[in-house]
């Protein structure tokens, strides 16, 4: 994994020279997870920046917050925000740029390469540690994970602890950056979309009952939506928590707003919520895995979105989130796009 000393120096300079408002990066966590998002405003606080395999969070989500904050201010500070991105996160940034949600000048991208490694999966780590708490996770020279607990160190092979999505990683270093820390190491990829095989082998009826059982557990905490950078709509079709009501919204608009799903966490409502959300992310999701990580009930949401990412590739030859110059998938078409559904 990359060492970020050069990145820290550059970031310090940016803050000192006032070129960025603040830097979004990773710092020490405290909830039993060693890393957490960190917002650095002063150059001297840059020493708190960390980079290790527990930096799972997709920080691009906070660019949505930044945009909302600017919209609330009368005279917003127009300087860019510095942001640390892994390879997968940078693809989310590309999608936001493609959709013109943010401007390239709004961000100063501090890229970090995962090189031959990636981030650890919290479930796999918990199983490995069998009740002990991880104080630190590092990578040694043999590309093995070294976990420090209060009882000493434990080693593990990378495949044992790497997040599922890292095993299918298509971008182990950022595809867009202003500064890159670490090597642009090529990673051989055995089976892209390999994690979908088990589910794809199920019959339609089996798949329906699998998803119904999984989604019945959902309590509609909306963490999956809240953590996703691409779920930035102020008015979400399947979510009543963000009615964009202002003093100018007319009574008619409020009265006629359709409630597509109820608040109740019933089967029917949960299914519609998740399926519609997945469809709205088709051709946009870059599989950062945050939705599944955030879910307190461990619903395997990645599969839904990953399947649609695969369809984007197979049906339209579209690789999501690589080239900011490309249009968003759903805003363009090619003559050779499949038409067999048109009768």
């Amino acid at each position: 994994m990359a060492k970020i000393e050069d990145l820290k120096e550059e970031a310090k300079k940016l803050l000192r020279e006032g070129k960025v408002k603040y830097i979004i990066g990773y710092g020490a966590g405290s909830n039993g997870w060693p890393a957490a998002p960190l917002f650095i405003k002063k150059p001297e606080d840059m020493d708190n920046l960390i980079w290790d395999p527990t930096c799972v969070h997709n920080l691009v989500r906070f660019l949505v917050d930044e945009k909302r904050r600017k919209a609330r201010q009368k005279q917003p500070d127009k300087r860019p925000v510095g942001i640390m991105v892994k390879g997968c996160d940078s693809r989310a940034l590309v999608v936001l740029l493609q959709e013109k949600f943010i401007d390239r000048n709004d961000v100063y991208i501090l890229g970090v390469s995962c090189e031959k490694m990636g981030v650890v999966d919290d479930g796999k780590l918990a199983k490995k540690l069998a009740g002990k708490k991880a104080k630190r996770v590092e990578v040694d020279a043999q590309d093995r994970f070294v976990i420090t607990t209060e009882d000493g160190k434990i080693e593990a092979a990378s495949e044992e602890l790497l997040a599922e999505r890292c095993l299918e990683c298509k971008a182990n270093f950022p595809v867009i950056y202003d500064l890159l820390s670490g090597e642009k190491t090529k990673r051989p990829l055995d089976k892209p979309f390999g994690s979908l095989e088990k589910i794809e082998s199920l019959s339609a009826a089996e798949r329906w009952s699998f998803w119904k059982e999984q989604l019945d557990r959902c309590i509609r905490c909306y963490a999956c939506r809240s953590v996703c950078p691409m779920c930035y709509c102020d008015e979400c079709v399947v979510d009543s928590i963000n009615l964009a009501v202002t003093a100018d919204t007319t009574a008619d608009e409020k009265a006629q707003r359709i409630r597509w799903i109820q608040r109740s966490a019933e089967s029917s409502e949960n299914l519609i919520y998740h399926l519609v959300r997945a469809i709205h992310l088709a051709g946009r999701c870059i599989d950062c895995g945050e939705c599944e990580r955030a879910c307190p009930l461990d619903i395997p949401l990645r599969f839904l979105n990953k399947k649609l990412e695969k369809e984007a590739k197979e049906l339209f030859g579209y690789e999501v989130g690589f080239d900011p110059a490309l249009p968003a998938l759903i805003s363009c078409f090619r003559d050779e796009d499949p038409q067999d559904f048109i009768r």
Binding site: G32, F39, R220, C221, L243, V245, S264, L297
Partner: protein, 349 residues
Amino acid sequence: MEKTLPKKSFPQWVKKLSSWNVYVPRKDEEGRWNYVEADGGEVSLDVLQTTLSPKKILFPQREVFLEFTKILAGDRETLEVKEVLPVVKPTVIIGARPCEARAAWMLDEVFSGEFKDVYYWKRRDQTTLVGLACTNPPSENCFCTSVEGSPHSEEGLDLLLTDLGDKYYVHSLTAKGEKLISAAKELFEEPKPEAKKQVKAAHAESEKKIKRQLKDARPIAQKLKGMFESPLWDEESMSCLRCGICTYLCPSCHCFDISDEIETPSPLQGQRVRTWDTCQFPDFTMHSSGHNPRPDKASRLRQRLLHKFQYFIQVYDKFMCVGCGRCITLCPVGIDIIKVLDKVRDHGA
């Protein structure tokens, strides 16, 4: 009444409770613990912290309040409104942690008073809580002793079980608890003086094992009174995602929404339901005019903390937080209630 129950007799006891609806914590294939109906399946109390607390049994995510129907009688249209009270079989929750029972005790306060919430009480009155003392903290983030709880607290419980290795020490605290013992009298033994000593020692030991501390919780509660306008809330809420995890998984959080769900629009037929809601959602307090007294994450984080650590104390003289640590463990961005309150305590020092 105090008894002991050999561990090997525990599954038999549960079987004898067939006239109750028994909930136990159970692990699924992925290793996650949750309270489920025992249903004759495997019962073991070798459990860490469940994801969802027993709150969902007393205060379900969806509760039907009433049904409304428009009826056409000739050429006249009339409205029939029928209240729908839950029909609850006597229920036992085995293995509730003392913190979860204390949370039930807090919910009892909220749903009582001048306006007694009959839906909650229909469930609560039928529920017997059998607690399991925490010989080891069930979570890395437990801090019950800092908020006036303890790993062997009896508040809110009908029975308290303490694991003594080969047996459970059973302390019955209410008539409801005694009924459970009577259902399988033959399995229980009189406690030997050795066992009584062991329980005392186990309880004292368990308090020392609590991993995290929040020092000076009461003085913090006092200090919070003057911290309403502090910039601390903005700093600490920067990474908040405004999801509902902390509040939905909290054993004592009880905010709810009431909405009408239409089954058929014409003729109108539907239900008025109560569902979980959270002060962390942006439109929780939004007026129809667009005015929002809590328009940003800072004010909402402040509300959550002040409600649990100050307002509840002003009204009931108890912390509303039981120190289970779920909000800390499950927050996707690591917002830690203990750390935030530590900063409150040390603010300006």
